[in-house]
């Protein structure tokens, strides 16, 4: 547990330092994630150390959104003022993005001969 958490926090820490030092648009934890993918490829034993902790954390990922979500109480006036704009924007853009993404994937897969059954 302690080695796993240490490794995860080291990657987050390094990501945060690089992101701030180079003024990158990527948040530190995302850089940490990219770094960890590379590290897992290069040093396979790393996977066995962090996998249990990572899976435990990811299995309860939804819980971690709750404190930020409760922040909605501080934004009720904004939501009341722009409720329609937000609602239309969220519904249309989400459904449009799924449709465009899925159609593009299917179309390009056919074009390059990438078969679903491979």
């Amino acid at each position: 547990m302690v080695p796993a958490l240490s490794i995860i926090l080291i990657f987050q820490l390094v990501g945060e330092v690089i992101s701030r030092a180079l003024h990158l648009p990527l948040p530190g934890p995302v850089l940490g994630m990219v770094g960890l993918v590379v590290a897992l490829q290069v040093i396979p034993p790393l996977g066995a150390i962090i996998r249990p902790a990572a899976q435990g954390l990811l299995a309860n990922l939804a819980l971690l959104f709750v404190p930020a979500g409760v922040g909605v109480v501080a934004h009720l006036p904004t939501i009341a003022a722009h409720g329609l704009a937000l609602a239309v924007s969220l519904v249309v853009s989400t459904l449009l993005a799924i449709t465009v993404g899925a159609l593009t994937f299917t179309w390009v897969a056919r074009l390059v001969g990438s078969n679903p059954d491979d």
């Binding site: 704009a85 924007s89 249309v92 799924i98 899925a102």
Partner: protein
Amino acid sequence: MTDAALIWSYLASKPLLWLAATLIAYWAGDRLYRLARCNPIANPVMIAVVLLAVLLWLTGTNYESYFDGAQFVHFMLGPATVCLAVPLQANLAKIRKALVPIAVALVAGSFTAVFSALAIAWALGADTGLLATLAPKSATAPVAIGISESLGGAPTLTAVLVLLTGMIGAIFVTPMLNAIGLTDWRARGFATGVAAHGIGTARAFQVNDTAGVFASIGMGLNAVLTAFLAPLVLQLFL
């Protein structure tokens, strides 16, 4: 002061109460979600948020006091984002086999999500701060919150918009793509992960395993791409 008032003043000044309340509210939300047979409308996070918001209102507690306790849960978003590397790396072989469709669909889906959301909200009169808050809404919550912060948006409102985006995707994706007649589970899952992050991914795993794996790939890649794309697309509307 009475005993009850003394106990309350102790609880109101320590993180214990709201940390416990956050976990219990999520537990209740998760139970209700399972009772509703995992129907995406009964999203456990949304239920927990509503329960806690009502509790804060009833006790006259402000968000800052609540967050003093809940910040320990919130902090874990960063490590959890780093942990997304584990499923992503485990699926690298699958990503390699469908590399071209994944790359093109990622850019198409991610750009559509950010651009159409901003264009609609802008046309309906949203101000700059609200656009910055809205731009990263298709990315997974920890990443979206980070992007919103760096763009000058309201991260807590972004968190709620992210949740709603995921719920909208999870509720509509299956009937909508069935109506269009799309049958490639890789395409369906991937597009859902890109547009509706973790909540869409959870839904994809319920429907089909291949869709679920590709949804997690889409979510992970879009977390990275949105961080680059959101600031660029936002520039178009300033």
